[in-house]
Structures are given as structure tokens and as C-alpha cells.
């Protein structure tokens, strides 16, 4: 599903297969290109291969065959460490289950990627504070995850994913654990981030409403892209 004539390609899947043994074909020959600043939703029933596609896009999983390029670099030409570093530099991730570190407060969670990149304490905290404020959680900055609501946790997760302004944000069911209103708030927040920071968003979701916030929506079934809807 290439999109000729568009802006710089940030994610490119070419003939990607991901098989688990002989029986399970999570992805079965996926071709996909996502342009910089584009918002793409991946939809499909459970077991269609959505999460596998996302895991391959960030290099956490390896394809059985085919190639996955992020910003022109084939992830699987790289060794694990280099792939990890690329993830650190270019990919932000948010999850349905938030995956915040329970022992750190909101500011510390958000500043973590910057500190892992070697930025100093103060600068990291300053930028994290700004990002926390941007996602509307200024009053909750020193709270730990178990003291936050689901929506607040997801906001923290978004802030953490975007603190280092990666060109690509991968979101795995970001509204899956949230009520409708909170889910809507999160999607609006992602829109703002896309608009303000020019971040590419690849969003896996069951939520039909989410497609309204995307430029394109792809439908996956049995490991193949079977439909595309331009928003």
C-alpha cells in the first residue's frame, strides 16, 4: 500500500511476514508506507496481527521475512543494541496498559527517556514539567501511577513518549482501558501533538471513533491489510 508522491517516508513495511510455527501467521505479506506527520490507524479484529505489526515497527519483534524500515533504516539489519538505540532516538510508544514505572512519580516517569539519553537531572525535570503541563497534569506531577486515574496515567504515558520529540509515535490501543469521554480526550491530545510537533502516529485500535482522528485507517485481517479508508 504505497503512497507515491507523499512526504518523506518514516515507516516502511515490505513483504513482512511474521509466523509463529507453521500454524500461526500473525502477519502474512504486509506492505505499508507511512509518511512523516501522518496519522494512521490500524484496525481489525483480535488476532488479526495489529499488535504484531506495531511490535515489528519498533523493533521489539523480528519478522520471519521481509523488511521494516524506520526513517530509511532497515531495523533488522541492525543488531539488538543498535535497534534499541534507534528506538530510543526515534520512536515513542504508548500502550493500552500504560506501562508506567510504579515506583516513579509522573515527572520522573516522563523525564525517564531524556535521562536515559544522558540529559541532566535539572534539564530533564524542567522539560518533563513543561510536558506534564502540556498534557494537563500540572497538579498531578508528583503523584505515582497508582494515585492517578486511567486517563491521567495515559496522559503521563503520552508525555513520556513525546518528551524527546520522536518523529514516530506508536500507540497500542491507547483508549482501550478508558471510558469514552476520557478516550476522546486522549485522542484530541494526540491530535494536538501531531499538529504542534509534527509527529507521525501509528495507532492500533478497536475504537471506530479513533479513525476520525487519523489521515488513513487500514484494516487488517488474518495478517493481511484488507482495506484502507482515507480520512
Amino acid at each position: 500500500m504505497s503512497q507515491p508522491g507523499r512526504a518523506r517516508t518514516i515507516v516502511q513495511f515490505e513483504g513482512v511476514r511474521r509466523h509463529y510455527g507453521n500454524q500461526v501467521h500473525a502477519l502474512d505479506g504486509v506492505n505499508l508506507e507511512v509518511a512523516l506527520s501522518e496519522r494512521v490507524a490500524i484496525m481489525g479484529p483480535s488476532g488479526s496481527g495489529k499488535s504484531t505489526l506495531l511490535h515489528l515497527a519498533c523493533g521489539l519483534d523480528e519478522p520471519t521475512s521481509g523488511s521494516v524500515k524506520v526513517d530509511g533504516v532497515n531495523l533488522f539489519d541492525l543488531d539488538d543494541d543498535s535497534r534499541t538505540r534507534l528506538r530510543r532516538e526515534k520512536i515513542g510508544m504508548i500502550f493500552q496498559t500504560f506501562n508506567l514505572l510504579a515506583t516513579l512519580d509522573a515527572i520522573e516517569n516522563v523525564s525517564l527517556p531524556l535521562r536515559l539519553k544522558g540529559l541532566g537531572w535539572r534539564e530533564s525535570a524542567k522539560r518533563a514539567e513543561a510536558m506534564i503541563e502540556r498534557v494537563g497534569l500540572r497538579d498531578r506531577a508528583r503523584h505515582k501511577p497508582d494515585e492517578l486515574s486511567g486517563g491521567e496515567r495515559q496522559r503521563v504515558a503520552i508525555a513520556r513518549a513525546l518528551i524527546f520529540e520522536p518523529p514516530l509515535l506508536l500507540a497500542d490501543e491507547p483508549t482501550g482501558n478508558l471510558d469514552t469521554a476520557t478516550g476522546q480526550e486522549i485522542l484530541t491530545l494526540l491530535d494536538e501533538m501531531n499538529r504542534d510537533l509534527g509527529i507521525t502516529i501509528l495507532l492500533v485500535t478497536h475504537n471506530e471513533a479513533a479513525t476520525a482522528h487519523c489521515d488513513r485507517a487500514l484494516t487488517l485481517r488474518d495478517g493481511r491489510i484488507v482495506g484502507e479508508h482515507i480520512g
Partner: protein
């Protein structure tokens, strides 16, 4: 990046304070045992050095022989040797006083005139009417006088002018106290129980003839001490040692090597057990931080940095635990020194009697920064080794799985067949090496075999734990219903979590079983060997060595058929001290046919009493490599003694000695000029009345020193008791170690259960949510503890049997130069079943409480 990861780790430990505390305590226990033993060792060695130093004074060289001493005319040769300015002879004897507490006294026989040139004594209240205050010991030339240490005077309430009744080989004597010596150096010897006599008076009183024990000398300034030493070596008989005082302390140090090696082994054992605890805690930390690690990986932390993060954790915990361990170890050493009043009981089994009493007062332990650094390093290294596998596991986890909820976690993998085969191979290889190599191969290699076996068993442990858990699962189900099955399943699902505790239990219990078996077997072997060495109908012992004049009248008592006079002393063989038994061999051999393990009895009967050959003990044979027909060469105070070995004697009763040489009394007299006797073995005429003969012997010697006359059966019985007590004393620290092993295992068990409860918070919450009562939850946790205890017991018994076998072949060989029969105590096993179960259930009480009281909603919500 590492700073950030350390920060994340720090937060984790702060949130899991109990896990952190238990891990730190685990390290601290191991390190404290190590540091305490090192400190005790140092205290002992420092005491030896100080003692030798104090006895040496200004002496630059010392001349000594074995316990028998050497002729005093040697001093003329010494004085005539170029480079020697002053020399002074000394004898050293021990005797019993007839004071109320029958206190023993160390008597230094000195030459009052010459002594002051080497050693100045601080005195108080010396009669100076004759203007001899510069030579306070001068008055000792007065007959039957003694100067005593102030410590002894204070303890016994004695003062100048009082008399001390003393039992000497020549009989009881009252010594007049000339004055009390106020000298700290003297007070520190032999617990302060020291008397100083004129050397000639002492020689006479102790039946030493013209023999002395030591010559201290000062060499001329400007002349190399070594050259004087060489000159003296050339001029003096080869049986005399000419050494610098420091070398002598080295000799004494060598004599304590076995004890110190034992200390080292036990302290390392504590570290090994601790390492299970650390492994356990680190594995659990990895399990608990599974998701966190996945998040970090997703955020761009490389595998190696994940591994480093866990290793940093471990080293920090190791450092804190070691720091606490060092502090605790120091206070343990201090307490140990205070409680036991020194190391005398332990050392008594391992040191030549001539050295032992002098060091009865070890220096108080001091804090050694070098040991502290060493212990810290060892603690950190142990923590790092223990954390290596968990850290590696953390770095290899699949982030995708970690980022999912708990239900998607995979069952922990047990070890594959290749590793199981490797474990089995190591165990079998270790056993084969234990079985087929000789003791002569050396301590390090022998201990290496045990390490091989230990590693083999550790590698197999997760798999073996699963096997045992699977085997008891149906029984648990039948006996305790679904709670039983649930408890066992938690072990099957996480075998590594359980196997670390099982490992600690296994090592702890195996240590208890094998040490106990070893000690019991050792006692039996030594006691039965001792019993075979007791000959004749009666045994006569003196309070001190008996002189020939003293013995002669006893021989004439009616009813006595024959008397075997035996002197037990020490001599030097090459670079080691060995025991020497000089006996009336014709009588001795009549009774001793069954203790000859090698050699032609008839040739022995013919040659040894005639002084044409000697016998050696099996231990001596093993250590020296000498066999029947080889020539034994001993350097005696008079000349070189060379005799063929005619037979080998079973002498395990004296296994702690380096070995024994047996020779005829006449041959000994000829080469050592020493006719004293340690004990008499008497054959009675047939029909002679024991009581009548005993009374007659006691009447005959009534004016001399008191003697103890006992039947041989009484002596054998008493000997068995003494051997048992000595072995218990020798292994006193092992008993402490057994306690430590059990204690550490208990902490491990609590640790595992607490963590297991936290780890399964969600699962247990689900059980509560679907109708499980608090009681059922508590039961599950307690049954899991009991199951871990049973698995630990089974593996502990298996390892205990293996270790006991290995110890019966190696440890006995290390300590004594021989092997002992395998002994495994069924009674101890039967006793350990309820103890282990009680300990396990006790350890589970708190975790069970936590589990039962957990909030169901938050438990189900936890990830």
C-alpha cells in the same frame, strides 16, 4: 544512563524494603562469619608472635629442640662461637599446685645472672638491702624459691614470703615466694599463671637432669645474624634448631594451620549459603521487575545496560551487606573471645603441647582494615556471582511479553537436559575423584572435588525440585485438597524461585548431616583406635612427668609382672613436629600385635626392642611417604638417628598429630639423654589383686608426686570420653556453623515465601475473589512452605550422604591423614523431619498472614 538506571533500581528497593533488608542480611551473615573468623585467626597469630617476642626479649637467635630438650653443655659451644656476645639457657615446665583450685603453673627456669642481659623485668618490692635491684632475679639462687607473676598472686591471694605447694615429678615441694613480679609481659603468658625459678633448681625439681629447653642469645652488633646462625648450625648437633625468634613464631603458626584451614572452610560455607539467599533475592527482584525491565527495554535501554543495572544493584547490596557484616563480624569475634576465654579448647587438639599453654591467652581481637577491605570485596564478589544469572535472565527477557499483563507470563523454564547432564556429570566426576585419588594430592584439590559436586547439584536443582514437587503433588492433593495442589503448582510454575531456597536448605542441611556424621564417625574411629593402644592391666599416670628414680620403686611392688614405661614427647622430622613414643618395646609389643597394620610381626618383635628399627604411625607413613623397609632419619640433640622402619602402626587415636614415631626406650635414652616417663602400663601377676597393687603403688610413691592408678578398662572408658570431648571442642565452631547454616536457610525460606506471596498477589487475589477464604489462602502459603521444606530435606539428605562420603575420605585425610568409615545418622534424619517442617511452617506464618489479609480489589488490580 547508568545513573538513571541506578535511580530506578533504588526506587524499586525502596519500595521493597523487606526484600532489600533480607538480601542485605543474607550478605551480612556470610561476611560476618568470614570476617569474624579472620579476626579470630589474626588474634591467635598476633598472640603467638607476642608470646614468642616476649619470651625472646633482646635475643636475636634461639636454639631449641623437641619437647625433650637438649644437654646444657651445648651452651659452652654457643658461647665459644664467634659472633655470640651473650647467651642464656632456659627451661619451661608445667606443674600443678596444691592450692585450693589446683591451679597449673608455667614455670620458667632461668639463669638469674645471665637473664638480665636479655630481659629486663619490672619488679616491685624487691629486697634491695644487698644493692642488687638491678638484678631482681638474683635471689632465686636461694634454694626452693620462686618469683611469681602479679596476676597469679592476685588471683590466689599470695604475697612475698608465702609458700606455694607444688607437685613436681620428684614429689611435692613447698616453694617460698621471694617476691611478686609486676611485669605485664609475664602476666600475659599462660593466663598470668607464671612462676620463675633458678634453672638448676628447676632442672632438679622437674627431673630434667642437665637438659635445657632453649638457649636465647644475642649476636654481636655489626655481624650479620644469619652468618652467626650458619656458624652455630655447623657447630651444633643437627637435631638442634637455630632460628630467629620470628621463625619460631612461624613454626607455631604452622602448627595451627589445620585449625585455621577449618575456619576458612566454614566461613566460605557461610558465604556459599548466603549466595543462595542473594541469588534468590535477585531472581525474585528480576521476576518482580519483569514489567519494569520490559518498559525500560521499550524505552531504549540496551540488554547489556539492563544486565549492568541488576549487577550494580547486587554490588550495592553486597557492599552494604558486607559493611554490616564486617561490623557484626568484629563484634562476634570480640564476643567469641570473651565467651570462650580464648581459643584454647580448639587449639588444644591441634598443637604441640609444648606450645599450647603459652598462648592460652590470645590477644583481644582488633579491627583489621585489610580484612575489612577483603571481606567487603568478597561480599561484593559473592553478590555479583549470585546475581549474574538473574541479571542475564533480565537482559534476555522478551519486552513484548513483559509489556503484557501477568497472565501472559510464561512458566519459568527449568534447565534443559544438556545442563542436567552436565550437573550429573559434575557430581559423578567429583565422587569418582573423591573415591580414587589419594589424600596426598593436597587440600585444595580435595576441596575442589567437593566444589564440583556442589556445582553439579546446584545446576540440577530446579529440575530435581520439579521432580520432587511432581511426586508429592498427588499426595498433597489427597491430603489437603485443592490448596495442596495449588501450593505445589506454585513451585512447579516457578521452580527457580523455589530452588534457590531449596538450595540454601540443601546446603545447610547437608552441612549439618555431613558434619554430624563425620564427627560421630571420627569419634568412633579414634576411640576404638585408642582403646587398642591401651595395654596391660593397670595404667599409672603422674601429675607431671615421672623420673626414673620415681618409677623404680613401683616396679618392685609385689603382684606386678612387668612394667612398660612410656614417654610421650615430640621431635622434628624434616620441617614438621612429630610425636615420639619411647616405650619398653618388648613389653609393649607383647600386647600390640593387633595394632600393626603393615610389617612382619616377628621381625618387629626382634628388631624394635633391640633398637635396630622403629615403627611409624599410618598417618606419619601417609604424610612422609615412608614405608616398611625405608630408613627413617631423625636429627636428635646428640647425633643423627637412622633406623629402618620395621612396621606401620594404626594410630588414629592421635590423628591430630602430624604422625608418630615409636622406638625403644633404650634407643631414645641413647640419643636424647632423657629418662622421664609419661605413663606406665603394668601387667599384673595372675591372681594379683588390683586394689592391693594399687594401694601398694600409691603407698610406695606417697612422698613423691600424686599418681593416678587405673585399670586399663577405666582408662579406655575415660579415653573415649576425652576423645569425644576433644573432638566436640575441636569442632565447636562447626557446631556454630551448623546453627548459622540453619539460620540462613530459615531467612531464605521466609524471603522466598514473602516474595512468592507478593509475586502471586494477583493469583491469590483471584482465588479470594472466586470464593477462597482467608484461611484457605494462608493454608496455601503454609503448604508451599512445607513443600519447599520437604524438597530441601530430600535434596539435603542426598547431598548430605554424598558429602559425608566425601568427608569420610577427604576431610579426615586433610585433618588426620586417614579415611574413616561412612556414617549417616538415621536418628538425626528422623529428628530433622519435624524440625524442618516446624521451621518451614514457622517461616510461613508471616507471609501467610500477609497473603490472607491482602485487599482483594487491589490484588486483582495489581500488575
Amino acid at each position: 544512563m547508568m545513573r538513571t538506571l541506578i535511580f530506578v533500581s533504588f526506587r524499586d528497593w525502596r519500595n521493597h524494603k523487606i526484600r532489600a533488608a533480607i538480601t542485605v542480611i543474607g550478605v551480612a551473615i556470610g561476611v560476618s562469619a568470614y570476617f569474624a573468623l579472620r579476626t579470630v585467626n589474626q588474634s591467635l597469630l598476633r598472640s603467638l608472635e607476642t608470646t614468642v617476642d616476649r619470651l625472646a626479649g633482646k635475643a636475636t637467635l634461639q636454639i631449641t629442640a623437641g619437647e625433650s630438650g637438649f644437654p646444657e653443655d651445648v651452651i659452652e659451644t654457643v658461647r665459644a662461637t664467634d659472633g655470640v656476645t651473650d647467651s642464656v639457657a632456659q627451661i619451661l615446665e608445667f606443674c600443678q599446685t596444691e592450692l585450693d583450685d589446683k591451679a597449673n603453673l608455667l614455670v620458667l627456669g632461668i639463669d638469674p645472672e645471665a637473664e638480665q642481659k636479655l630481659r629486663a623485668y619490672d619488679v616491685d618490692g624487691v629486697p634491695d638491702a644487698e644493692g642488687r635491684k638491678d638484678a631482681p632475679l638474683f635471689f632465686l639462687k636461694l634454694p626452693n624459691t620462686v618469683v611469681i607473676s602479679s596476676a597469679f598472686a592476685d588471683k590466689e591471694g599470695l604475697k612475698a614470703g608465702d609458700h606455694i605447694p607444688i607437685v613436681m615429678p620428684t614429689g611435692k615441694t613447698d616453694l617460698r615466694i621471694l617476691y611478686v613480679l609486676k611485669d605485664e609481659r609475664v602476666d600475659s603468658l599462660f593466663g598470668g599463671r607464671v612462676g620463675i625459678m633458678d634453672i638448676h633448681t628447676a632442672q632438679q625439681a622437674f627431673g630434667r637432669g642437665r637438659n635445657i629447653d632453649r638457649i636465647d642469645l644475642i649476636t654481636k652488633r655489626g655481624i650479620e645474624i644469619e652468618s652467626v646462625r650458619q656458624r652455630l648450625k655447623q657447630r651444633l648437633p643437627a637435631g638442634l634448631d637455630v632460628e630467629r625468634p620470628q621463625q619460631r613464631s612461624q613454626q607455631v603458626e604452622n602448627a595451627t594451620t589445620i585449625v585455621r584451614q577449618g575456619f576458612l572452610v566454614t566461613s566460605l560455607m557461610a558465604l556459599i549459603i548466603s549466595s543462595f539467599l542473594i541469588f534468590n533475592a535477585m531472581s525474585i527482584a528480576v521476576n518482580q521487575r519483569w514489567k519494569e525491565t520490559g518498559v525500560l527495554r521499550a524505552l531504549g535501554v540496551e540488554r547489556r545496560n539492563v544486565r549492568r543495572m541488576f549487577l550494580y544493584d547486587a554490588s550495592l547490596i553486597g557492599l552494604i551487606g558486607s559493611g554490616l557484616g564486617v561490623l557484626a563480624g568484629y563484634y562476634i569475634a570480640v564476643a567469641f573471645a570473651r565467651l570462650t576465654g580464648g581459643l584454647l579448647p580448639i587449639l588444644s587438639a591441634a598443637m604441640p603441647s609444648s606450645t599450647l599453654p603459652i598462648i592460652a591467652q590470645p590477644a583481644p581481637p582488633t579491627f583489621n582494615p585489610g580484612f575489612a577491605v577483603e571481606s567487603l570485596a568478597l561480599g561484593v564478589i559473592t553478590a555479583l556471582i549470585s546475581a549474574w544469572l538473574p541479571a542475564r535472565a533480565a537482559s534476555r527477557l522478551t519486552p513484548i511479553l513483559a509489556l503484557h499483563n501477568i497472565e501472559t507470563r510464561q512458566m519459568e523454564a527449568t534447565l534443559g537436559w544438556p545442563r542436567l547432564a552436565l550437573g550429573a556429570f559434575l557430581v559423578i566426576a567429583g565422587l569418582v575423584l573423591v573415591r580414587f585419588t589419594s589424600a596426598a594430592i593436597g587440600t585444595v584439590l580435595q576441596l575442589g572435588y567437593l566444589v564440583l559436586i556442589l556445582f553439579g547439584l546446584i545446576i540440577m536443582l530446579p529440575r530435581v525440585s520439579c521432580w520432587i514437587a511432581s511426586a508429592i503433588r498427588p499426595l498433597a492433593g489427597r491430603a489437603f485438597g485443592s490448596e495442596g495442589v495449588f501450593a505445589i503448582d506454585s513451585i512447579l510454575v516457578a521452580p527457580r524461585r523455589a530452588s534457590a531456597t531449596v538450595g540454601a536448605l540443601m546446603v545447610g542441611l547437608a552441612f549439618v548431616f555431613s558434619i554430624w556424621g563425620f564427627i560421630q564417625s571420627e569419634k568412633e574411629v579414634l576411640a576404638s583406635s585408642y582403646e587398642r593402644t591401651v595395654n596391660g592391666d593397670l595404667q599409672v599416670f603422674g601429675a607431671a612427668l615421672m623420673t626414673q628414680d620415681f618409677v623404680e620403686p613401683i616396679k618392685a611392688v609385689s603382684g606386678i609382672a612387668s612394667v612398660d614405661r612410656t614417654l610421650f614427647t615430640t621431635t622434628r622430622y624434616q620441617d614438621r613436629m612429630v610425636a615420639l613414643i619411647a616405650s619398653d618395646m618388648d613389653v609393649w609389643l607383647r600386647h600390640s600385635r593387633n595394632i600393626l597394620t603393615l610389617g612382619d610381626y616377628e621381625k618387629v618383635r626382634e628388631g624394635v626392642p633391640a633398637g635396630e628399627g622403629v615403627l611409624i604411625s599410618d598417618i606419619f607413613a601417609a604424610r612422609s611417604g615412608l614405608g616398611v623397609g625405608d630408613v627413617l632419619t631423625l636429627e636428635t640433640p646428640l647425633a643423627k638417628l637412622e633406623r629402618p622402619v620395621l612396621g606401620i602402626v594404626d594410630s588414629k587415636a592421635m590423628a591430630w598429630l602430624e604422625g608418630i614415631v615409636y622406638l625403644d626406650r633404650k634407643l631414645y635414652l641413647q640419643y636424647w639423654r632423657d629418662d622421664r616417663v609419661s605413663w606406665l602400663s603394668i601387667d599384673l601377676d595372675s591372681g594379683a589383686d588390683f586394689t592391693a597393687v594399687k594401694d601398694e603403688i600409691e603407698r610406695t610413691v606417697s612422698r613423691g608426686q600424686p599418681v593416678f592408678v587405673q585399670t586399663s578398662d577405666e582408662v579406655r572408658h575415660r579415653g573415649r570420653e576425652i576423645i569425644s570431648r576433644n573432638i566436640d571442642q575441636f569442632f565447636a565452631f562447626f557446631y556454630v556453623q551448623m546453627f548459622i547454616a540453619t539460620f540462613v536457610s530459615l531467612i531464605g525460606l521466609i524471603n522466598t515465601l514473602v516474595i512468592s506471596v507478593w509475586d502471586r498477589k494477583r493469583e491469590l487475589g483471584i482465588v479470594r475473589a472466586v470464593g477462597g477464604t482467608r484461611g484457605q489462602i494462608a493454608k496455601i502459603v503454609m503448604l508451599e512452605a512445607a513443600a519447599i521444606g520437604i524438597i530441601g530435606l530430600v535434596t539435603g539428605v542426598v547431598k548430605g550422604v554424598i558429602d559425608t562420603y566425601a568427608m569420610s575420605r577427604t576431610a579426615a585425610a586433610i585433618f588426620g591423614g586417614y579415611s574413616i568409615p561412612f556414617y549417616f545418622s538415621g536418628k538425626l534424619l528422623a529428628l530433622s523431619v519435624p524440625i524442618v517442617l516446624i521451621v518451614a511452617l514457622g517461616a510461613s506464618w508471616w507471609p501467610a498472614r500477609i497473603a490472607a489479609r491482602a485487599n482483594v480489589v487491589s490484588a486483582i488490580g495489581s500488575e
